[in-house]
Symmetry: C2
Subunit: 146 residues, 2 copies
DNA sequence: TCGATTTATTTCGCATGCGAACTATCTATC
DNA sequence: GATAGATAGTTCGCATGCGAAATAAATCGA
């Protein structure tokens, strides 16, 4: 209690994220969709035909991040890249039938994971956690240093 | 309120971790120590001469994880690898003077980051967050599927 | 003691995602 | 219309860390 051990938060967050990713990877290995990929599937499930940049913003990924993700998912036939008719620089992303199927599976898997994530905590506590996680976005912005 | 939006936790965690890592990378880029590397520095600050496997356990890293981390940090002259006198398979890790200096710097940087991480939350709330983060380790164990 | 198993670490191939630099296209300004 | 910027993506090199398989050393059993 005396010398606050809050410095652990950084490590706790790191480990927690890694644990979860590892778990998701192990679970989804069967259908071949990774955690990052399912993120993009969810985005397209909500807004099919989105621009790459928009998808990246939704996932908090920089240009190289989505570019690579889209490459791999296109190669895996989960999504399709089509030129934007109005902008020669831009590409729009669309789910393939396989991608749609993978999304449905991911949704089921995610439901189980969420049940686990919230297990043992009250709704009020989960709200605190969600608020804290979301607060990092404002505290550690993308572009600027302080 | 009706259809619980808890499924966001997975994405929130992912984004939060990435944001923080990105921030730390930007901050520590100057002294050349990354977030993962500072983690190992902290471990060695507490238990210099630890086995690689022990360090990996402390950081929740598998064998390939520490192996690579140690490679890079050895190349950067932050730590030294010395054979264990009692076990021909094992290596013990030691801080170099440069590593010790980097650790001191990392501690200062971490203090600032922690101030930011806890900013806007009560101590009770931070306790909830810490407990939640730690709970993932039990919920998503390393080896077994259920 | 010798072979089988366990344990510590490495290596490989992969996915992820960053910053920096580049290309191509679009938009505004003169 | 030409040209200077802004914008959308790509590419490169890097760090991170996984699972699977390999290597080498220790230990256990018969």
């Amino acid at each position: 209690m005396s010398p606050r051990r809050e410095h652990r938060l950084v490590f706790l967050l790191n480990v927690a994220q890694r644990r979860l990713q590892r778990w998701i990877a192990a679970q989804t290995q069967r259908n071949g969709v990774t955690a990052a990929q399912s993120g993009l599937l969810f985005v397209l499930g909500q807004r099919d035909g989105v621009l790459m940049g928009e998808a990246g913003a939704a996932l908090d990924l920089g240009p190289p991040g989505i570019s690579g993700l889209v490459d791999r998912m296109t190669a895996a036939n989960l999504i399709k890249r089509r030129a934007d008719p109005d902008d020669g620089r831009a590409w729009r992303l669309w789910l393939t039938p396989a991608g749609r199927a993978a999304l449905a599976q991911s949704k089921a898997g995610l439901a189980e994971i969420n049940a686990r994530l919230t297990d043992g905590f009250t709704e009020a506590e989960i709200d605190v956690v969600a608020r804290w996680l979301a607060s990092l976005q404002g505290k550690f912005p993308k572009g600027e240093d302080e």
